[in-house]
């Protein structure tokens, strides 16, 4: 009886929306931690101290930064297109948080039933996630075009060139995963990897997807739209104070959601052997902890890559996607078709 009521609450879409708002808050906190973590790790790589003054090991540095950004004057340049300048960050934020709605943040397993912690459940969530994440490019272009700054515009054009290259291999890899799971629902895809993760079944697909996703998120070595050595700050040069902060945060949230996507599509999601989750308490805690642990490892990898490799030139980036990743992703698609037809 209690279980029945619980299920009814879980089915309520309005309560799901409130859960989504909680997840939004959680990811903001998470993004703050990740920024601190990245600065600390970068300092370690370069044998510096990193943030160390605000709080133990500088963990509250981001709170201080947020206060600083909030108290900075908001400047809209005289030559800027005011309407687009204001709406650009809204489009960017909207696209990033629409991604968040469909992504599960873990799962709770009670009596063998899995309840994913996600704001919504739709049949086509992978397609939906790809679609809304592509909208962020439009937000970035609005920001850059409205600034009326040459550096910004160059950054935005590079952003388009990169997006054009990497959307296709990314899409083909997602299709390969969907074929193997037999569904476009991201929760079903995560469940389908119960004994064997998809990274083992389609390693090429994982490599292509990971590289394409890094490019999609604009992480170094693919941050040609920002490349601070040549373009000041690229697409966001004219933004100051909190307006800059919003764009900056959007990038970090995009990175976290992207890492979750990698774990859900290729690294087995929250699946654990049934022995571990049959216990009530462990079933509630372990799957989510396992999932978030893997997400942190992916984030760690992405950050380490950023501080270990130099930036590519834009034509090299575009060449990499069209001449190497696209054929490789098609090869992976063929491999997956063969595997499924052979009944593996």
């Amino acid at each position: 009886m209690i279980m029945m009521e619980l299920t009814e609450i879980l089915f309520n879409p309005w309560l799901r929306g409130i859960l989504g708002l909680c997840l939004m808050g959680a990811i903001f906190m998470g993004a703050m931690l990740v920024v601190w973590f990245e600065r600390k790790l970068a300092a370690d790589v370069q044998q510096r101290l990193g943030p160390s003054r605000v709080g133990p090991h500088g963990i509250f540095q981001l709170v201080a930064d947020a206060i600083k950004l909030l108290t900075k004057e908001d400047i809209i340049p005289a030559n800027a297109d005011k309407l687009l300048f204001v709406f650009g960050p809204m489009v960017l934020m909207g696209s990033i948080f629409l991604m968040l709605v469909a992504i599960p943040f873990g799962a709770v397993i009670i009596n063998g039933d899995t309840y994913p912690i996600a704001a919504t459940d739709m049949d086509i969530s992978v397609l939906y996630i790809e679609a809304v994440s592509a909208v962020s490019v439009i937000g970035i272009f609005m920001i850059a075009y409205s600034s009326n700054n040459k550096y910004s515009l160059l950054g935005a054009f590079r952003n388009f060139a990169r997006m054009i290259g990497y959307e296709v291999p990314l899409g083909i890899c997602v299709v390969s995963v969907a074929i193997m799971a037999g569904s476009l629902n991201i929760i079903d895809i995560a469940q389908a990897q119960n004994p064997l993760w998809f990274i083992i079944k389609q390693p090429i697909g994982f490599v292509v997807f990971f590289i394409a996703l890094m490019a999609d998120m604009g992480r170094l070595p693919f941050d040609q739209n920002e490349s601070e050595e040549e373009l000041i700050a690229g697409w966001i040069t004219e933004y100051t104070g909190m307006r800059f902060g919003l764009g900056f945060f959007a990038e970090y949230i995009h990175m976290m959601l992207g890492s979750m996507l990698v774990v859900l599509l290729f690294l087995g999601g929250w699946n654990l052997p049934t022995v571990l989750t049959s216990n009530m308490l462990l079933g509630i805690i372990l799957p989510t902890a396992f999932f978030l642990g893997k997400v942190s490892l992916v984030i760690l990898t992405i950050i380490m890559i950023r501080w270990a490799v130099p930036r590519f030139r834009i034509d090299q980036v575009v060449d990499l996607s069209w001449k190497k990743l696209l054929p490789l992703s098609l090869l992976n698609l063929g491999w997956v078709i063969a595997l499924v037809l052979l009944g593996v």
């Binding site: 089915f11 879409p13 309005w14 799901r16 929306g17 409130i18 989504g20 939004m24 909030l70 004057e73 908001d74 400047i75 340049p77 005289a78 030559n79 204001v86 960050p89 809204m90 934020m93 990033i96 948080f97 629409l98 968040l100 709605v101 469909a102 039933d113 899995t114 994913p116 704001a119 919504t120 459940d121 739709m122 049949d123 397609l127 075009y145 009326n148 700054n149 040459k150 515009l153 060139a161 054009i164 290259g165 959307e167 296709v168 899409g171 083909i172 299709v175 969907a178 074929i179 929760i187 469940q191 004219e238 307006r243 034509d315 575009v318 001449k323 696209l326 098609l330 078709i337 037809l341």
Partner: protein
């Protein structure tokens, strides 16, 4: 079991989407409103100038300029639509009585597009225009 929302009514899946969208769109203006209360104002015309490494900006940024990846963009439209056709196929792929015919049809489709891709490479369309 994976259904966490009653998907019999498709609107139910999208109510949370609408809620989050409204909050996400309201967030930047709300933050800027807060900033307006907190931040100082200074009177200076120089701060409204476009930043161009310290010198006075020359001309407008919105000029006609050569986009080196025009042909890539055309190819992108083709390939992205190809991927879109793959999505519905991927979901029905495992249904037993259509697998064979669906596979053959889709392989023909992929090979046609693949020939187009090889043609693009041969024509050197996928080459950064200098």
């Amino acid at each position: 079991m994976s259904g966490i929302i009653d998907t019999s009514n498709i609107i139910y899946s999208y109510i949370p989407v609408a809620i989050i969208l409204v909050v996400a769109l309201l967030m930047p203006p709300m933050t800027m409103l807060l900033v307006k209360q907190l931040s100082p104002r200074s009177k200076s015309l120089a701060k409204y100038e476009t930043y161009e490494a310290g010198s006075v900006p020359i001309g407008n940024a919105r000029i006609q300029f050569n986009v080196e990846y025009y042909l890539y963009a055309i190819a992108f439209v083709l390939f992205d639509i190809e991927v879109l056709f793959l999505y519905p196929w991927a979901t029905i792929f495992k249904e037993p009585n259509i697998t064979t015919i669906a596979t053959i049809e889709m392989l023909i489709f992929i090979f046609v597009v693949l020939f187009g891709y090889l043609y693009l490479i041969k024509k050197e369309a996928l080459k950064w225009q200098k």
